[in-house]
């Protein structure tokens, strides 16, 4: 079972794990996360030595390689502050995946300790900081994609709480919401046919709901769905939850 228990938040300082995808492709998502946290008066520290959570090799089956990266991450995020990450997938890696691959390792304790203070962004805002409504304004019909790694966690309900409270924002449901977008990390390149077919189905469902924008708490899903849609010649607009929240603040002239 997923261990989703976290220590209550007391301080106003967090370490920010930007994720390798935001580091390489989606800088605006990382920036939006910082802006959202700072708007709430949170001091954001970015440990410069950070790289990746170790998930690519973990999912790829190379646990030796993955543990090497996780050990680096544990070292980089030393301290007591909560670690906030704009990805349900990287968060789940930190509090669940690592525990599996370190099961028989001497440093399991340190790895688990980092997992227990790592929060997915939406979960942190709603269940860590107790934010239940979001100010500002975002005029759009939004389809929210529940990413698979947030199954069994509080992330999807947290995102819905936040998005549902933004003035002007309307959430539309779409078919087979429980189904995966087809990304799956290394799966997307070793099973490209199945992966793309899964994505195409997801896109059909999303398009049928006619949203203005597709939103998720995970850029990996957005990279896959957005990339597929663009390749099909029918691009869709994708945003991260953090970008919607940040833009709502901007539209409301709150930042």
């Amino acid at each position: 079972m997923l261990n989703t228990e976290r220590k209550p938040i007391t301080g106003k300082r967090v370490q920010f794990m930007a994720t390798c995808l935001c580091d390489a492709f989606y800088d605006d998502v990382a920036a939006a996360t910082v802006q959202v946290l700072e708007y709430l008066g949170v001091e954001v520290v970015f440990p410069e030595g950070q790289t990746c959570c170790g998930q690519p090799a973990f999912n790829g089956g190379d646990w030796t390689a993955s543990r090497k990266v996780v050990r680096h991450t544990v070292k980089t995020f030393a301290g007591e502050e909560p670690v906030v990450v704009p990805s349900g997938s990287c968060a789940a890696m930190m509090f669940h995946g690592t525990v599996l691959e370190f099961e028989n390792e001497a440093d399991l304790g340190e790895v688990e300790a980092l997992g227990r203070r790592t929060w997915e962004l939406g979960d942190f805002l709603v269940n860590g900081l107790g934010v239940k409504t979001w100010p500002g304004r975002f005029e759009a019909t939004v389809a929210f994609h529940r990413s698979c790694h947030s199954r069994g966690t509080n992330s999807s309900s947290a995102a819905s709480t936040l998005l549902g409270s933004v003035a002007g924002l309307k959430i539309v449901e779409f078919g087979e919401g429980e189904q995966c977008c087809g990304f799956g990390g290394t799966f997307s390149v070793s099973f490209p046919n199945i992966s793309a077919s899964m994505g195409a189905l997801k896109l059909d469902h999303i398009r049928a709901a006619k949203p203005d924008v597709l939103v998720s708490g995970d850029m990996s899903c957005m990279m896959h769905l957005g990339g597929l849609a663009k390749e099909e010649g029918k691009p869709i607009k994708t945003l991260h939850l953090a970008q919607v929240l940040r833009d709502a603040l901007k539209n409301g002239k709150l930042i």
Binding site: C20, C22, D23, A24, F25, D27, D28, A30, A31, A32, V34, Q35, Y39, F46, E48, G49, T51, G54, P56, A57, N59, G60, G61, D62, W63, T64, A65, K68, V69, H72, L100, E101, H149, R151, G152, E178, Q179, C180, G182, F183, G184, G185, T186, F187, V189, S190, F191, P192, N193, I194, S195, A196, S197, M198, M223, H224, G227, K230, E231, K250
Partner: protein, 479 residues
């Protein structure tokens, strides 16, 4: 470019087969969810309890198996133990020969699929007829089941009508009722001619030695009503501690498997005919089959032995829906099969080490499993095992160089900068197969490596951020 075998299979799958599998499994999943959540306030709690009960059984099989054997014997049942598929089949053959029997009618049982019992018996001059409609169609077609509950989920009625015609079961007619009536008419006589009835068991109670069979067609009842000898082939993990536990398991199995509150028939079999039980076969055998299960028990994936074969994980699995059951080259396909099938190979694990890769690890299987098996965790363990045993894995990017970069911050930052090259070079010039596989189906966003770090350093206070990232094409143009 080489990809995984299952991916290739999916790419070459006939469109109507894919549609049949997709529709069948999607409907099964949706009906299941509705039924469970309409009727129970907290179905997840039921799944967790059932999982704990089954895990308890799996971890205490050494206590439960002797207990169940003693109960069965006390009920007048002859108990056999078969370590291998071959031993299980030989036990059946031995029983038939001892009785001078030549004809068997079979109910659906996955264990007998594992041991390929029907083929084995036919090779030894016996008739072994499948009486479950789906299995009957598979048998006359010389096909294999592609789903553990719905063996012919991959077929449409037109194909079935054609094969009925070819097998002398009447002129082409694809009306499902007509097909069923014809099969029933053909099978009815066969029950009466048979000497032996073979079934599996969905559960065996350690408390009472009761065998529980759930079916929808009534064929297993006919198998038992018409023959003098009942043989049950049962996997050693099928035990539940008490009769009481059946309330939980029967409710979950029917809802998870076929979205029914209860299957049409639920049979409780306590033994052969006796003074207190005047009907039924005069002789009853139970063959407990190991066939690799104790090896699974010894592994770090023993949770998979909780499985009650409902097929819910197949129905919900997006990979199964795209690839169909036959893609898995195994008796057990889908998520449960991707764990169980390679493990049951024993030393030949590498031959099926690709199965655990056939998953996006979306976790839907875990979410629906009536015994709460953490299937994604088990798939991951098996992926790691494959790597440790150096089994080649086509299409999986090597991780050594990445791990080196990702554990050295300076090298990482350099590669964030260096990665910009993909904005300017056609990816086919780059020696990175994973990138090409990605771009075969999806466009890649513009590389913006290091931009966030730059922003973080240069902004003042709560400065606003630069405009959104340009697309790759725009980045190229700008250059």
């Amino acid at each position: 470019m080489r990809f995984q075998q299952i991916d290739q299979f999916a790419a070459e799958l006939r469109a109507d087969t894919r549609a049949a599998v997709y529709d069948g499994s999607k409907k099964g999943h949706e009906k299941r969810t509705k039924l469970l959540f309409d009727e129970y306030a907290d179905p997840d709690r039921l799944r967790r309890i059932a999982g704990e009960v089954k895990q308890h059984v799996v971890e205490n099989l050494d206590t439960y198996l002797p207990q169940v054997e003693a109960k069965l014997k006390a009920n007048g049942v002859i108990v056999h133990w078969a370590a291998t598929a071959e031993a299980a089949n030989q036990a059946v053959l031995g029983i038939m020969r001892a009785r001078g029997a030549t004809k068997m009618v079979k109910a659906k049982t996955m264990v007998s699929e594992e041991t390929e019992l029907a083929h084995f018996l036919e090779k030894h001059g016996m008739e072994a007829l499948e009486t479950d409609l789906g299995e009957f169609i598979v048998q006359i077609d010389g096909d294999h089941p592609s789903h553990i509950v719905k063996p012919i989920i991959h077929k449409n009625r037109r194909e079935i009508a054609t094969s009925f015609e070819e097998n002398g079961l009447g002129a082409y007619n694809d009306d499902p009722q007509t097909i069923t009536r014809r099969a029933r008419h053909f099978l009815r006589h066969k029950y009466l001619e048979a000497d032996v009835g073979l079934t599996g068991a969905n559960f065996v109670s350690a408390e009472s030695g009761r065998l529980v069979l759930v079916t929808n067609e009534g064929n297993s009842r006919f198998c038992l009503a018409a023959t003098k000898c009942h043989i049950a082939m049962v996997g050693i993990e099928k035990i539940v501690p008490r009769d009481y536990d059946l309330a939980l398991f029967l409710n979950l199995l029917a809802r998870s498997g076929t979205a029914q509150e209860l299957t049409v028939y639920t049979e409780f079999i306590s033994g052969p005919k006796s003074p207190t039980q005047p009907d039924g076969p005069e002789e009853m055998h139970v063959i407990f089959v190991d066939n690799g299960r104790t090896e699974v028990l010894a592994s770090d994936c023993r949770d998979i032995l909780r499985c009650i074969r409902c097929g819910a994980c197949l129905n919900v699995c997006p990979v199964y829906r795209q690839a169909s059951g036959h893609a898995y080259r195994s008796v057990y396909p889908g998520p449960v099969g991707a764990v169980l099938s390679p493990l049951m190979m024993g030393d030949k694990f590498p031959q099926k080490a690709d199965l655990p890769k056939a998953s996006s690890l979306c976790g839907a299987c875990h979410e629906v499993c009536p015994v709460n098996i953490p299937i994604p965790d088990l798939l991951l363990r098996l992926r790691n095992r494959a790597k440790e045993e150096n089994v080649p894995s086509p299409g999986t990017p090597p991780m050594g160089a990445w791990a080196l970069l990702a554990s050295q911050p300076t090298a990482w930052r350099a590669s964030l900068f260096g990665g910009k090259i993909i904005n300017y070079l056609p990816t086919k010039l780059l020696p990175i197969p994973a990138l090409r596989a990605w771009e075969a189906k999806r466009s890649l966003p513009a590389w913006r490596g290091g931009e966030f770090r730059k922003w973080l350093k240069t902004r003042k206070g709560r400065a606003d951020f630069s405009p959104p990232a340009p697309s790759r094409a725009e980045a190229k143009k700008a250059d």
